[in-house]
Symmetry: D2
Subunit: 162 residues, 4 copies
């Protein structure tokens, strides 16, 4: 029997993250690794560093899609560093390569990744992140799922990727 | 004396646009061409078709960055069709190639282009388009300028690109 | 009656070009513009600068797909400067966007563009440029057409793009 | 003491490979995995399938950078499937992400990857693959190292990446 192909979840968040964002990223990284998800992130500082370190601690694999051309620049916890050399366009590659996306915090890069997730019709969950509102609407787009805790975010994704 | 390099403005909007969005795009296309801006768009249907046709009528130039590999697929008004072959990633190329961005309507692709504009620190003006709100804030991010008419949007951009 | 969509020819060559390569690029630029082709190039120094200047002199249009994110860096003759921000990957975009390719001189970037032209099954003509030989063969791959003069190269392309 | 960051080697070859090319790829995959290299390939059929299967057998890790947007399309041995969605441009991403490149066989995609390796100044070794000759030269460019066996190719790369 073939084992099921690993599911890949993107964890997106700013390099200039708050302490709270980094704590959330750490909790998300532990949970995703424990549940057998492959993680993809931007491979740099802040949220990426926290999620990669947590994945490593829990025995998981974290892919880092870096904007520059030096794979040595990846955060220490990144097990698969990929230097794309395409700058900010790598945000779109992160979203292309995942099956679902967890957005943490309020950076513009994170917003661009959430938006690409919506374009590509992939499940997007926000943990203390942006809300986006269509013209003429008063409530945020409910396609972005809002979670309050790392556990809630990972559970929601798990149900969507069965 | 060297004439100043042409300024490039991206006009972003959905291929499945409303009549109102297409009318806005037409007005924007006329104004940008009359003010000597080079226009870049996605080159397809809806808003792109409208803005390209208007640019052509007003004697302007409209670049279409297409997702596929057939430049014949460009809308009739597109004077410079560029088949990128990179799919949805061309959204990021549209933003890379402009100095400012006008977003029309409520498509997810448009949201991704607004977000990339914010990432790259380029002026972004919304004409009946998305508002984006940071976590913990109650008001939309004011970095996205909101305009009510095509004339107001183009004037705002003109002041930012002097 | 719809006028036929403009045909786009890529002119590829090194930024560190020889005097001979620049002279060839100038002749190619004049001929392509006179024959109504849209030209796409890398937009930088050497061959790109020469072909863009010649296109401008002959009233043609030259698109420059730049590796960086500053469209001001385009050579003076470039009429449509597009800052891609993707570094060397823009070589592949140049080839995606053309219908045929003229390679001038012996730079590695030029070789990468010839190779992408072969991958995408587009006519490739070499003017004092690389020859590529398959394993086990003694003669260069004849799919790359070899021309001796700019006129011969442009004529060959014209026949292929009817 | 920090363990040294893993070194990444790209293995390039056609999806329509000969039996000989697949046998070479298998030998290369075993050796690279045994020597602790991370492998990156195109993730599809032919050479990629062979090298990924061999890497897996030897306990190694093989990244597959796929042209499409379905990571399920990766060859069975690929342990890290990355769906780029950028079509043929992923050839350039494969080269960006490696520190050295082994080219097997005579496909055009392989030639494009060798050429990108030369552009990016990365060690390129050919195992029964293309030779490229500068204009005016009679001998192939010696920057492409020619090896006769998988062992010779891997040894050469190992010396270059110390």
């Amino acid at each position: 029997m073939t084992p099921p192909r690993q599911r890949i979840v993107a964890v997106c968040g700013a390099s200039q993250a708050t302490d709270g964002d980094r704590a959330t990223a750490t909790a998300v990284g532990h949970l995703l690794a424990e549940h057998g998800f492959l993680i993809v992130c931007g491979g740099g500082r802040g949220v990426a560093t926290a999620v990669a370190a947590a994945a490593k601690e829990s025995g998981g694999t974290c892919i880092g899609l870096l904007p520059g051309d030096r794979h040595e620049d990846a955060a220490p916890g990144v097990s698969v560093p990929i230097a794309t050399g395409v700058g900010h366009l790598r945000n779109a590659l992160i979203v292309q390569s995942c099956q679902a996306l967890i957005a943490i915090g309020g950076g513009y890069g994170t917003l661009s990744e959430m938006a690409f997730g919506l374009v590509l019709d992939k499940p997007v969950v926000a943990l203390g992140s942006w809300s986006v509102t269509r013209p003429g609407e008063s409530d945020p787009d409910p396609t972005v799922h809002r979670a309050s805790t790392a556990a809630e975010a990972v559970e929601w994704i798990e149900r969507r990727l069965v």
